[in-house]
Subunit: 130 residues, 2 copies
Amino acid sequence: MKNIIEEVNFRIKRDGEDLAIAVAQDFKTNEVLMVAFINAEALEKTLRTGKMHYFSTSRKKIWLKGESSRHYQLVREILIDCDGDALLFKVDQQDAACHEGYYSCFFRKIENGQIKVVGKRIFDPKDVYG
Amino acid sequence: MKNIIEEVNFRIKRDGEDLAIAVAQDFKTNEVLMVAFINAEALEKTLRTGKMHYFSTSRKKIWLKGESSRHYQLVREILIDCDGDALLFKVDQQDAACHEGYYSCFFRKIENGQIKVVGKRIFDPKDVYG
């Protein structure tokens, strides 16, 4: 596991952290669910537990996806890109990925200079986050 | 078009540039092709030409994907995530996305502590880049 982590190029520096980009994708449909950052410790926890952990650049800490919502992302497959600074996680998304209640964080489409909601709302954030 | 660009949160600061994350995905299969950075000017050029432009953090300049290889990415759909700092481009990939000759830059899988090539090689980089 340690060797794998050494293969990743955590080249994005932010607040003293060395980060790579993590993309989560639905393992069945290939729908992209979210994009966030990951550091070595979050990757180690992800590999060990099988649940996605990210590094939150706003809260400046490791973040188990689903820690408050229980909307975990169960990892099914991991791919690494050519220069090693981005990881693609194919996941089994529990309930929905977006804190706004949509299945994917990419629930808005840009079309003809407008932004319109195209995603399906799965839950009401008030019910989950209080 | 200007309004759309103002909706994007170019919050990743790097070498004086304000960047967002750009994910390119095959518009037919949803296969993720690559992840890179984009700035306002690259996004404006992408919207205007219909061809993906990124901001290269290594070369520190706008980069028309395919400018040397002619492996352009023709934009079919654009999605924006909940906090506006990541864009998802569904594209019609000409030939292949990866400079190493694979269709996707995510041509390597991490499995049981090993990295193995799972992608299909479409071209020999020597033939394209000389």
